[in-house]
Symmetry: C2
Subunit: 352 residues, 2 copies
Amino acid sequence: MTSSKVLIVGGGPAGLEAARSVAEIGGEAILIEKRERLGGTPDRESYAKLTHHWRDASEAMAELAAAVTSNANVEVKYQAEVKSIDGEAGNFMVQVEAGGVAETLEVGAVIVATGFQHFDPGRATQYYNYYSFPDVITLTDLEKMLKEHNVVRPSNGQAPQKVAFIQCVGSRDRQIGNEYCSKVCCGIASKQAIEIKQQLPDAKVFIFYIDMRMYGYWENEIYWPAQEKYKVNYVKGVVSEVLPKNGQLLMRGEDTTMSRPMEVTMDLIILSVGMEPSAGTRAIAQLLGIQQNKYGFIEAGGAGGLDPVATSRAGIFVAGAAAGPADLDDSISRAGLAAARAVAAVRKAVLA
Amino acid sequence: MTSSKVLIVGGGPAGLEAARSVAEIGGEAILIEKRERLGGTPDRESYAKLTHHWRDASEAMAELAAAVTSNANVEVKYQAEVKSIDGEAGNFMVQVEAGGVAETLEVGAVIVATGFQHFDPGRATQYYNYYSFPDVITLTDLEKMLKEHNVVRPSNGQAPQKVAFIQCVGSRDRQIGNEYCSKVCCGIASKQAIEIKQQLPDAKVFIFYIDMRMYGYWENEIYWPAQEKYKVNYVKGVVSEVLPKNGQLLMRGEDTTMSRPMEVTMDLIILSVGMEPSAGTRAIAQLLGIQQNKYGFIEAGGAGGLDPVATSRAGIFVAGAAAGPADLDDSISRAGLAAARAVAAVRKAVLA
């Protein structure tokens, strides 16, 4: 017996868009979210502002969520997780537990949108001393400060005068096994640098990078203004260690453009931590029996490489950062494609 | 009187995916293409291989086209162009001319997938002497050579021993008005460098770049093997001019990592030309009355910035490189979202 329902796992931007699109094109969607709230990582991690248009992240996530909760063709289950799956495209039997209650869902297709987690900078990049020095923080720690308009040195509660971003922490780093680029951190750091300058106009802000990787909106609306209007200092360089010095932080490394050793003091250092597959992404890949790449992200692209949302199992699709580093536009776009593929799969099964 | 049909303008990867998705989710698609063939730029420009999986470009485009031509819910019109449009979402009257015959189409929504054109390196970057020196070619010229397994110096028909790619020709260049990044050229140059090494194992290949911008597939499957397996030489540097010297080409500029002037001779120089809006994209934006950004690409994102395929006019959507530089994954993903949005728009109009 075929089912025309589509199960979407994960209530972040990709899952919300997938559910909305499935419902708007005539399908029925069931969206399950493990937390008691929608909005995914931007909500959970209290992001301040999102591109485009520097929108308040809570407001933007609420807009995506409203398109889902206001649609009668989407059923949302909170505190819910997939426990097992059986069957095939057009006819999956999925055991879920929602709010402590087990139930079986009959669905025709599944969209995995279980997202990413931020790299833990204490795990393998000890030389930055994230867990030792309070004034070494991450991009996500800074988002919370920016949201509260309270960018301070955690060690003393004072506004920092010299701030440095260190790029590629947990990315492009073969020694720790993450040689991939996390794609969004150059843009996020540049966005945050602008926000720091808006909140603390007298602060000096530096970004230490390998390559500045941005394009489209990120380049035109973020990178250029960061350099030209906000006078953010971009330094091509490698930071090898962070040490304490007279109440400040000493950064040692190499300025690769100037080809010389670099030793500078900072008040606040932000580690631009990369994206890794979330625990939920790793778990559901195992559970659904779909291939992961060597970094643990869900392998996408299909046999011919022309289907960015296809997984290795027919009828199961992937959208958003569960398949690898992605920005909001990427996540929303692929969610739309995944919705189209999922509805196509159930239509094909129903018509067969 | 509302129409449930969706008009797709352009038969490249984005248009093909949009038409396929519209049809597969239950809509009716009309695809118009100005040439007599489908496949867009990869077909017209005789691309050799496409990522992912180094697929033969002709074969990959044929696969995308077959998904459209084999679907009874897509009507394809060749040698066809939009002449005018009237009406609103759910009820557009579109005048088209197909094969010299004028007709009026009633459609509920429109997806613009009119693509890009390669930057003309003679127009504003004369110092590379594209139109003077036969051995200065572009990425697209090289694709044709690679397809024919005939990578030679056009001046004498001999295999080059030293080959250089110059990145960001027509991109990230404020002087010519294109300060945006074309996003794909770093990956394409790296892919082509590998192909040159496969066809001419003894050639030395250099890539002169500002920042190497790659991620995902491009980084993991192209950039790392290019460096490590194929020994492509990446040089962070700026090339300021190309001159003739004893039958070779003299490149002058600055090696910015070494902070020193650079003067090297090459046998073949490839200009990594960027992406600009195609003439068709500029024309249709005017004709449909949809906003363009300052570079002429179609402005996308919607009022709230959360809809990567929305244009400034309700019921008209954009996918692929008509909205800005995009790789194949981007184009296909956004086409899927555009299909979902278009079908949602016509459903809403029909149900209203």
